[in-house]
Symmetry: C2
Subunit: 333 residues, 2 copies
Amino acid sequence: MIETPYLLFLGDAPDMLAAKVAIGIRDWRPENAIGQIRLPGCGADLGLTEMTLAEAQAAGAKTLVIGVANRGGVISAAWKEVLIQALEMGYDLASGLHNLLRDEGDLVAAAQTYGGTLHDVRVPTDGYPIANGVKRSGKRCLAVGTDCSVGKMYTAMAMEAEMVKRGMKATFRATGQTGILITGHGVPLDAVIADFMAGSVEYLTPDNDDDHWDMIEGQGSLFHVSYSGVTMALIHGGQPDALILCHEPTREHMRGLPGYKLPSLEQLRDTALPLAQVSNPACMVVGVSVNTQHLSEDEARTYLAEVEARMGLPASDPYRFGSDKLVDALAAI
Amino acid sequence: MIETPYLLFLGDAPDMLAAKVAIGIRDWRPENAIGQIRLPGCGADLGLTEMTLAEAQAAGAKTLVIGVANRGGVISAAWKEVLIQALEMGYDLASGLHNLLRDEGDLVAAAQTYGGTLHDVRVPTDGYPIANGVKRSGKRCLAVGTDCSVGKMYTAMAMEAEMVKRGMKATFRATGQTGILITGHGVPLDAVIADFMAGSVEYLTPDNDDDHWDMIEGQGSLFHVSYSGVTMALIHGGQPDALILCHEPTREHMRGLPGYKLPSLEQLRDTALPLAQVSNPACMVVGVSVNTQHLSEDEARTYLAEVEARMGLPASDPYRFGSDKLVDALAAI
């Protein structure tokens, strides 16, 4: 659990692309983002109030979150100065960088001296159980994709936001570092040891109110040979009541795997649903989320209408056209 | 890579059940088992030559393998005496125990002083890549089960032995600690970090001669919600050309999961084959291996004949009736 609210550290990020994590926090948990702090030459700007460490602390900030990728995988001296000063002032630090805060001696020393916590969200912090498959109360929805990086996290986030807006009980459950930094907690599933993967998902989505939905962040794809085991563990550990199929229709091959074609939405449905029904016989496929960023608006609308007719399921691009249809389908279960 | 041949340490094992690992080595790699060494009160006997550490060393033994489970999960003082003496004499040690040799200060000290290696085969030793899905030369066979512990390792071992007897090129590829101790190498797949599971299987089964078969040890089951992610990674990382379906027909529920029924062999075939064809479109289901230990011989023969008629596939219990039929089916590919 990372203490909120955050001050977002943008460092010397060359552009907005490098600030993906900070953008996610601003967009999905604006109440967690008190302000931004930047170094000279920073090319990213979230449009949040520019604050010093002292100003943000006075406004209540508890954790300095590194919201950007670092150049060349090195935590530079310029960054260090701010990070150590933050620890001296009583901040915690949180990061999803590949190189870990805990591997930097000066940060560890400052954290120990001043009592701060270093959160490296790529590293599992809890001991997870072996999955026991026992049926849990409450409802769960999992986004599964024809490929990696087709919008599964975005879909779950957008649906959670719409559900909360409607007064439904919903909680986004993060399974990757970006989601964990955005929400302050979760399981970094791709870093969990094989035997405990499904158990970590059970742990993440415990018993809940009968009308509560866990919106579980998907990972990988059953059709992506590098990461399909992680997807499988999510499907069985998550015990989903509802699956949302996610797709990017212009992709020519599986991400990072030239020669591997994407499956059709029908193949995804026919593969994922029987597997999900092993852990939850009542599971249904309720909708399709399409990432239409590479289509014109006309093309996107035509494509979605065609998918709806073909699959007999509501289809939307939550980023472009909202997630109402998908939430309607969940609410009807 | 564990140096062979071995001296098998049986300690004070109460009975043969506790000596599963040692029995596996004796049965499948007798050339690796120079002799056995026992403590007073040992109730297990492999029928191998009883040897002192010095006698076995004179006969060429390189590694003292702990071939038994330890009582109460503690490496006792009586064990330690033999283990430390072995290190002093220049042996390496190998163990699949839950508590690790490397966590015992006196063993670590002796290993450092005398230059021995402590092999804890439950712990991955190599850095594994992310799977790249690139087609490899040579052939691969994977045993997949309706459940855990239905005889997948035994099936692969028995088929490898029969293939070698026939002069075929075949290598058993271990993915669990027992298999690793038996053969001296492998990947402890259930202890690998999620992102690297499929990559570790690619690493374990590299390019080979076109007529060479890797006989890959299966793990878990696609229908076992605790471990299905591991099975999925084996199917995609292994790129199998051939699947053997494994089943235990008298089991009432999935191992450790009351309330979870076993799938039929048809369900296993229809689930595993399309998933395997993602990484290897030429993959086929070639046979069925049935663990008939809880059936009479008549019942077993009747059951196997019924499976053959129903599935249109050769079926055998390799332990009871040999693996000829299954190897014939592989050889025909």
